[in-house]
C-alpha cells in the first residue's frame, strides 16, 4: 500500500466532478430549468475534463520519470478492494489518454456550441467525463474486480455516448451491436480472470505476475484465448471487429475521436498486461496465432477502408488496420520471448506500444478534422465534398498532417513505429531454424502492402474531400471550424511531429516497461549517435526522422530559393486547367472516390465480391430509357456469412422454444409431473 499519487487522485476527482456537474445540469435541462443558460452544461463539464486531462498528463509523466509499482486502494466499494497502481505500463496508456483527452475536450468547446440549444449537453458531459474516468481506471486498476468494473463503466458510458443521437435508427442499431459484442467480450474476460484467480488464488494483478504460465496446458490455452478474444472484441481484431465501423461513425465526432483513439486501446492495454505481465514465456502457438490475427486484421481493415466513401467509416476501418499492426508487434514479441530472444521481444513491444500512442494521436487528429468537415458540410459522404482546402485551410492542413502520419511516411510518428515493427519482424527470421521463421518476412511484406494501401487510401481520403472543385452546394460554402477546434487539431498535429522527430529522446521511457515485462532495458541499443534510431545493434540498420527532416528542409529550401529566383524573370500565370484541351472543367469531370478505388476493387474482387446493378427505367418506349440507376457495392463478408446466420439461427431457435409456454395448463402440469417422477426414480434409489 503506497501513498496515493496526488495528481492521479486529483485527475480522477476532476473527472468525477465533471460527471457530477454534467449530471446536475443534465437533470436541470431534463426538468426544464437551466434552459435559459445552456452554455453552462457545456463549459463546466468540459472544463473539468480539460483540467482532469492536464492532471492526468502530469501524473503519467511523473510515473514514467520515477517509476514505482506502489498500489493504493480507493475507498469505493465496501465488499471489494479497489486498488489502483500507476506502473510504467499503465502510465504509458494514461499518457496516451491524457494527451488525446486534452485535445478532444478542448475541441468539444467549439464542436458542441451549435447543438447546445437543441440537445441535452449535460447528459453528454456526464457520460463523456464518466468515460474518461472509466478509461483512467481501466488503465490503472490493479485487481480483477476493479478492472472489470472500470471496464464496464467505460463500455457503458461509451455506449451512451454512441447512442447520444438516438433518434436515428441507424445509431440505435449500431450502438446495440456494439454493447452486445462488448459485453460478450467482458464476460470472456470475467471467465478468464476468475479461472486465473481460481488457480493463482488471488485477484490482485500483482499476484498474477508471470504466474499464468504455470497453469496446466489446457487451462493456459483456454485462459489465453479467452483473454485474447475478450480484449480483441474491444480492440476490434478481425473477425470480432464488425461493431467498430458501425459504432464509431454514428457517435458525435469528438466521441468518435475518443472511441477510435483510446477506447479501442483498452483492448491493447489488456493484451499487453496479460501477455507480458501475467504470462511468462508461452507456447509458441500463442504468438503464432496472435501474429497471424494481427496480419489479417491489418489487411482486412485497410482493404475495407479503401472501398469506404463515408469519411468517418473510412477512418474507423483504419483503426482496425492499425490495431492489426500493433497486434502483429505483440505476436512477434510473444514468439521472440518463447524463443529466448528478449531484445527482439523488447523491440517488438516498444514498436507496438509506440504505435499505440501514435495511432491515438493521429487518428484522434483525423477524426477531429473529419468532425469539423462533417459539421460544416452536414454529410459524411466524401462524394459530396471537395475543394474544402480553400474554405477550411486550417482543417485541411491538419488532416494532411494526420494523413501523412497514418500512412507511415517519414518523418512523422507513424513511420517510426512501423519502422521498429519492420526491424523486429526482419530480425525474427534469424531467431529459429523451423519453418515458422518464414512467418516474419511474409508478415513484413504484408505490412508493407498494408502501409502502401493505407497511403493509397489516404490519397483518396484527403484528395477527394479537400482538393479540386466542390462537389455539392454545402461543400461550396462550407465554414472553417471554430477556433477551439483548430487549437485542438493544432495540438495533436504538433504532437505528431514531435513524436516523429523526437523519437530517439522518447524511447528510454520504455526501458521500465520492457524491464518489467521481458526483463531487458532496450533503449541504449535503440539509439545511435543521439539522433538516429537503430535496431538493436550498430549494423542492423538505422534511421533518423530528425535528420531526414533536417536535410529535407535544407534541400527544399535551397531548391525553392533557386526556382523562385528563376521565376522572378519568368511569367507565372494562373489559368483554367489544361485537361488535355477539354474546355470547361466542372466538378462532374472530377475523379470520384468510387472511381479512385475502382482498380483495387477489381484487383481484390475475390475478397470484396463486388456487386453491381444497372437498372434502366423506361417510360415510353423500351428503347429509350428515361433514367438509369447504377448501384455498386461490396459484400460485407463477415456480417453476411457469419454474424447474420448466427443471429437468425439463435432467434429462430428461441421462437421455436416459445412453444414450451403455449398456454396449456395441462402441458405445464405435465412438465412438473414428469420431472417429479424422473427425479424420484433417479434421485431416491441410489
Amino acid at each position: 500500500m503506497g501513498s496515493p499519487d496526488p495528481f492521479l487522485a486529483a485527475a480522477l476527482a476532476s473527472f468525477l466532478a465533471g460527471a457530477v456537474s454534467g449530471l446536475a445540469t443534465g437533470f436541470g435541462a431534463g426538468l426544464g430549468t437551466w434552459k435559459q443558460r445552456p452554455a453552462a452544461a457545456r463549459i463546466v463539464a468540459f472544463a473539468f475534463a480539460v483540467l482532469g486531462s492536464l492532471l492526468l498528463f502530469v501524473a503519467s509523466c511523473r510515473a514514467l520519470a520515477h517509476p514505482s509499482s506502489a498500489t493504493w486502494s480507493l475507498p469505493l466499494v465496501t465488499l471489494f478492494p479497489c486498488t489502483v497502481r500507476l506502473d510504467p505500463l499503465s502510465a504509458w496508456f494514461t499518457l496516451t489518454l491524457a494527451l488525446l483527452a486534452l485535445a478532444v475536450s478542448i475541441y468539444s468547446f467549439g464542436y458542441l456550441r451549435p447543438m447546445e440549444r437543441t440537445r441535452n449537453l449535460g447528459a453528454l458531459g456526464f457520460f463523456y467525463n464518466s468515460l474518461l474516468l472509466g478509461l483512467a481506471l481501466v488503465f490503472t486498476a490493479a485487481n480483477a474486480f476493479f478492472f472489470l468494473s472500470a471496464w464496464e463503466v467505460m463500455a457503458v458510458s461509451a455506449f451512451c455516448l454512441v447512442v447520444f443521437e438516438h433518434e436515428k435508427a441507424e445509431t440505435r442499431d449500431a450502438a446495440l451491436v456494439y454493447i452486445v459484442m462488448s459485453h460478450a467480450g467482458t464476460v470472456m474476460l470475467l471467465a478468464a480472470f476468475l479461472l486465473l484467480a481460481a488457480f493463482v488464488g488471488g485477484t490482485d494483478f500483482a499476484s498474477f505476475h508471470l504466474l499464468a504460465s504455470n497453469l496446466p496446458p489446457a487451462e493456459l490455452g483456454a485462459v489465453f484465448l479467452l483473454f485474447f478474444a475478450g480484449f480483441g472484441v474491444k480492440a476490434g481484431i478481425v473477425p470480432l471487429h464488425v461493431w467498430l465501423p458501425d459504432a464509431h461513425p454514428v457517435a458525435p465526432s469528438n466521441v468518435s475521436a475518443l472511441m477510435s483513439g483510446i477506447v479501442i486501446k483498452c483492448g491493447i492495454y489488456g493484451m499487453a498486461r496479460v501477455f507480458f505481465d501475467f504470462y511468462g514465456p508461452t507456447p509458441l502457438w500463442t504468438g503464432t496465432v496472435v501474429l497471424a490475427v494481427g496480419v489479417v486484421t491489418a489487411l482486412v481493415g485497410v482493404l475495407y477502408a479503401l472501398q469506404e466513401h463515408d469519411l468517418k467509416r473510412l477512418l474507423a476501418y483504419h483503426s482496425i488496420e492499425n490495431i492489426g499492426i500493433i497486434v502483429m508487434g505483440f505476436g512477434a514479441a510473444l514468439m521472440f520471448r518463447t524463443l529466448g530472444h528478449l531484445n527482439l521481444a523488447a523491440i517488438a513491444i516498444v514498436g507496438a506500444l509506440y504505435h499505440t500512442l501514435n495511432h491515438a494521436i493521429f487518428k484522434g487528429l483525423l477524426f477531429l478534422a473529419a468532425g469539423s468537415v462533417v459539421q460544416s458540410v452536414r454529410t459524411r459522404n466524401m462524394e459530396e465534398m471537395g475543394g474544402l482546402i480553400r474554405r477550411m485551410p486550417g482543417t485541411a492542413f491538419f488532416f494532411l498532417i494526420g494523413a501523412i502520419a497514418i500512412s507511415g511516411l517519414p518523418p512523422l510518428n507513424g513511420f517510426v513505429s512501423e519502422w521498429l515493427t519492420y526491424q523486429a519482424l526482419l530480425a525474427g527470421f534469424g531467431t529459429t531454424q523451423s519453418l515458422t521463421r518464414l512467418m516474419f518476412p511474409i508478415a513484413g511484406a504484408l505490412l508493407a502492402l498494408t502501409a502502401a494501401l493505407a497511403a493509397a487510401c489516404f490519397v483518396k481520403a484527403f484528395g477527394i474531400p479537400f482538393l479540386a472543385l466542390p462537389r455539392s452546394e454545402a461543400a461550396a460554402n462550407a465554414q472553417e471550424a471554430a477556433p477551439a477546434m483548430q487549437y485542438a487539431m493544432a495540438l495533436l498535429a504538433t504532437v505528431c511531429v514531435v513524436l516523429g522527430l523526437g523519437a530517439t529522446w522518447i524511447l528510454p521511457v520504455f526501458d521500465q516497461i520492457t524491464q518489467h515485462t521481458v526483463g531487458v532495458a532496450i533503449s541504449p541499443s535503440l539509439v545511435a549517435h543521439g539522433i538516429a534510431l537503430q535496431a538493436g545493434t550498430a549494423q542492423s540498420g538505422t534511421v533518423s526522422p530528425a535528420g531526414i527532416a533536417l536535410v529535407f528542409l535544407a534541400l527544399t529550401g535551397t531548391v525553392a530559393f533557386l526556382v523562385r529566383r528563376r521565376l522572378r524573370h519568368a511569367r507565372v500565370a494562373t489559368g483554367p486547367a489544361w485537361d488535355c484541351g477539354l474546355p470547361g472543367l466542372t466538378s462532374d469531370n472530377e475523379y470520384t472516390a468510387t472511381a479512385f478505388s475502382k482498380p483495387l476493387r477489381l484487383i481484390f474482387s475475390a475478397f470484396y465480391r463486388p456487386n453491381r446493378e444497372i437498372r434502366p427505367e423506361y417510360d415510353v418506349s423500351p428503347y429509350y430509357p428515361s433514367a438509369i440507376r447504377f448501384e455498386s457495392g461490396i459484400e460485407p463478408t463477415f456480417e453476411k456469412h457469419f454474424y447474420g446466420p448466427l443471429r437468425t439461427w439463435i432467434f429462430a431457435r428461441a421462437r421455436k422454444m416459445r412453444a414450451i409456454q403455449a398456454g396449456s395448463i395441462h402441458a405445464y402440469l405435465a412438465y412438473i409431473f414428469v420431472t417429479l417422477i424422473l427425479l424420484l426414480l433417479f434421485g431416491v434409489r441410489q
Partner: protein
C-alpha cells in the same frame, strides 16, 4: 414479544380493511390507504428492531420455540417488510391512477371500484402477514401452511382486474401452486417421519427446524432423500424454478403492479428461504453433494430457460417475470455450489435483487399506465423523453439486473462465479456466464428499444405517490452498489453462516 407484534400488525390491518365494508366512514379510499401505509411502516420498523435484536443477541424465539428468528429470517423479514412498505406507498398512487382511468370497473364479475380497492387493501396485508409467518415459523409444517397461505391470499390479487386473461392466469397460478405445495407438504411430512423416532421430537417440536438441525446427522437417510426432492420441486414451484416456472409470467403480467412486485420479490425470497432451510437439513444429513447437484440442475435449467423467452419476448412485464426466473435460478445455483463464499453471495444477491427488481416493476408500472400498454410493439420507444425520471430509473434497474458494474448485482454474481470456479464447478461457471450473456442481450435489445427513440406522447408530469418510491429505490440501488451499512453487511454474513457455518 416483538415477533408476535410483527405478525399482529399486518393481520390487524387486514382485518380492519376487510371489515371496513360495514362502516360507511371507513369506506373512503383514503382510510384504507392510510391503514395500509401506516401498518407497513410499523411492520418495517418492527423488522428493523428484530434485525438489530438478532444482531445483538443471536437467534430469538417465542412461545417455546414456535416462532424463531435467526439472522436468515431477520434478513428476509427486513427485505420483505421494506418491499411491502415501498409497494404500499406506490400502490396508493397506482390505484388512484387506475381509478381515474376507469380500469377498476372491470367488465367481468364486476364489483365496484370500492369493493376492488377494499379487496386489494385487505388482501395485501394478509399476504404480508403470511410471508412474515413463513420466515418466523420454526415449525416446518407451519412454514408450509404459511407459504400455502401466501398463494391463497394472492390468487385474488391476480384476478384483481377481472379480465379474462387475469382469470386464466389466476387459475394456472392456483393449480400449479396447489400441486407444488402438496409436493412440499409431502416432503415436509417425510422430513417429520425421518426425525420422529427421536426422543424429544414428539409432537410439535418434531418439526421444529431448530431441533431437527441439531440431530440432522441421525435423520433417516432414504426419507430425507425423497423429502428433499419433493420439497425442492414444491418450493421450487413457488420460487418459479423451471420447469415449474410456467405460472410466473402469467401471474406477474396480470396482477396489479404493486402486487406483482411483492410476488416477484418478497414471495421469491420466502421460497428461497424455505429451500435454504431444507438444504441445510439435507446437506447435514446426506452431505452437500446430493442436494447441491439437484439444486444446480434446476438452477441452471431455470437460467437457461429464461434466455430464449427473454430474447423473443413481446411484453415487458412478462420479460421482467422471466428475468425473475433467471435470478431465482442464479440464487439456487449459488446455493447448490455450496461453501461459505457461495452462501454469502447468495444472501447478497437476494438483498440486491430485492431492490433492483422492485424498482424495475414499479417503474414498469409507471410506463404501463402512461402508455396504456405493456407490448413492445405498441410502445415504439421514447420512454426517456416522455418519462425522464421513470425511464432513467428503469434504465438503472435494467443495468443492475443484468449485472453491470458499478451496480451491486455484479458483485454478487462475481462472487458466485468465483465460488463456482473455486470449487472446480467449471461447467457451472461457464454456463452461468453464458446464460447471463443471453439474458443481457435480450433485455438490452428490448429495453433500449423501449427507452430510446421518440414518441408522440406528451411529457408526463411528476406523480408524487408513484414517483417518490421509485426515486428512493433508485438512490438506494446506486448507493448499495458502493456502500453497504455495516450492520446490514453483518446481518448478511450471519445469514450466510446459517447456510454454511
Amino acid at each position: 414479544m416483538i415477533l408476535a407484534l410483527l405478525l399482529a400488525v399486518p393481520l390487524s390491518a387486514c382485518a380492519a380493511c376487510a371489515v371496513s365494508a360495514v362502516s360507511a366512514v371507513s369506506r373512503r379510499r383514503s382510510v384504507l390507504e392510510a391503514v395500509n401505509v401506516t401498518a407497513f411502516a410499523i411492520t418495517f420498523l418492527l423488522a428493523l428492531a428484530v434485525a438489530s435484536q438478532v444482531l445483538r443477541s443471536g437467534a430469538i424465539s417465542l412461545w417455546n420455540g414456535f416462532l424463531y428468528a435467526d439472522a436468515l429470517s431477520a434478513l428476509v423479514i427486513l427485505l420483505n417488510a421494506a418491499v411491502a412498505l415501498v409497494c404500499s406507498v406506490y400502490a396508493v398512487g397506482y390505484l388512484r391512477e387506475d381509478q381515474r382511468l376507469g380500469a377498476l370497473d372491470g367488465e367481468v364479475g364486476s364489483h365496484g371500484a370500492e369493493a376492488k380497492l377494499r379487496m386489494y387493501y385487505s388482501l395485501t396485508p394478509l399476504l404480508v402477514f403470511s410471508m412474515l409467518l413463513v420466515t418466523l415459523a420454526n415449525n416446518l409444517g407451519v412454514m408450509w401452511a404459511a407459504i400455502e397461505l401466501t398463494t391463497l391470499a394472492s390468487v385474488f390479487l391476480v384476478t384483481f382486474y377481472g379480465k379474462v386473461t387475469s382469470l386464466e392466469a389466476a387459475w394456472k397460478y392456483a393449480m400449479i401452486g396447489g400441486v407444488g405445495l402438496s409436493m412440499a407438504l409431502f416432503g415436509t411430512l417425510l422430513t417429520y417421519y425421518a426425525g420422529h423416532k427421536f426422543p424429544g421430537s414428539e409432537g410439535v417440536a418434531g418439526l421444529n427446524w431448530s431441533i431437527l438441525v441439531g440431530q440432522a446427522a441421525q435423520l433417516d437417510k432414504p426419507s430425507m432423500r425423497m423429502a428433499f426432492i419433493l420439497v425442492l420441486l414444491g418450493y421450487g414451484t413457488k420460487a418459479g424454478l423451471a420447469p415449474m416456472h410456467t405460472w410466473k409470467p402469467d401471474a406477474y403480467s396480470e396482477a396489479p403492479v404493486p402486487s406483482a412486485a411483492i410476488l416477484s420479490v418478497a414471495v421469491l425470497n420466502c421460497a428461497i428461504y424455505g429451500l435454504v432451510r431444507f438444504y441445510v437439513l439435507t446437506s447435514r444429513c446426506l452431505g452437500a453433494q446430493y442436494p447441491g447437484s439437484l439444486l444446480l440442475l434446476l438452477g441452471l435449467f431455470s437460467m437457461g430457460i429464461a434466455v430464449p423467452f427473454v430474447l423473443v419476448q413481446r411484453n415487458f412485464r412478462r420479460m421482467l417475470a422471466y428475468s425473475t426466473i433467471d435470478q431465482a435460478g442464479m440464487m439456487v445455483t449459488a446455493l447448490g455450489i455450496g461453501g461459505k463464499l457461495a452462501a454469502f453471495a447468495l444472501m447478497l444477491h437476494m438483498t440486491f435483487h430485492t431492490v433492483a427488481k422492485s424498482l424495475l416493476f414499479l417503474s414498469a408500472g409507471n410506463i404501463y399506465q402512461c402508455f396504456k400498454t405493456d407490448l413492445f410493439l405498441k410502445l415504439k420507444g421514447g420512454v426517456l423523453k416522455v418519462l425522464p425520471i421513470t425511464g432513467a430509473a428503469f434504465c438503472l434497474g435494467t443495468m443492475a439486473i443484468v449485472g453491470l458494474p458499478p451496480f451491486s448485482l455484479f458483485q454478487s454474481e462475481f462472487l458466485m462465479i468465483r465460488a463456482a470456479f473455486g470449487t472446480a464447478h467449471f461447467l457451472v461457471g461457464a454456463l452461468f456466464i453464458l446464460f447471463g450473456l443471453g439474458v443481457f442481450t435480450g433485455v438490452t435489445l428490448h429495453v433500449s428499444g423501449m427507452l430510446l427513440g421518440t414518441s408522440e406522447e406528451p411529457r408526463a408530469a411528476w406523480h408524487p405517490w408513484r414517483d417518490t418510491p421509485i426515486a428512493i429505490l433508485a438512490v438506494i440501488l446506486i448507493v448499495i452498489g458502493f456502500w453497504l451499512p455495516a450492520d446490514l453487511l453483518e446481518l448478511i454474513r450471519r445469514a450466510a453462516e446459517v447456510v454454511s457455518p
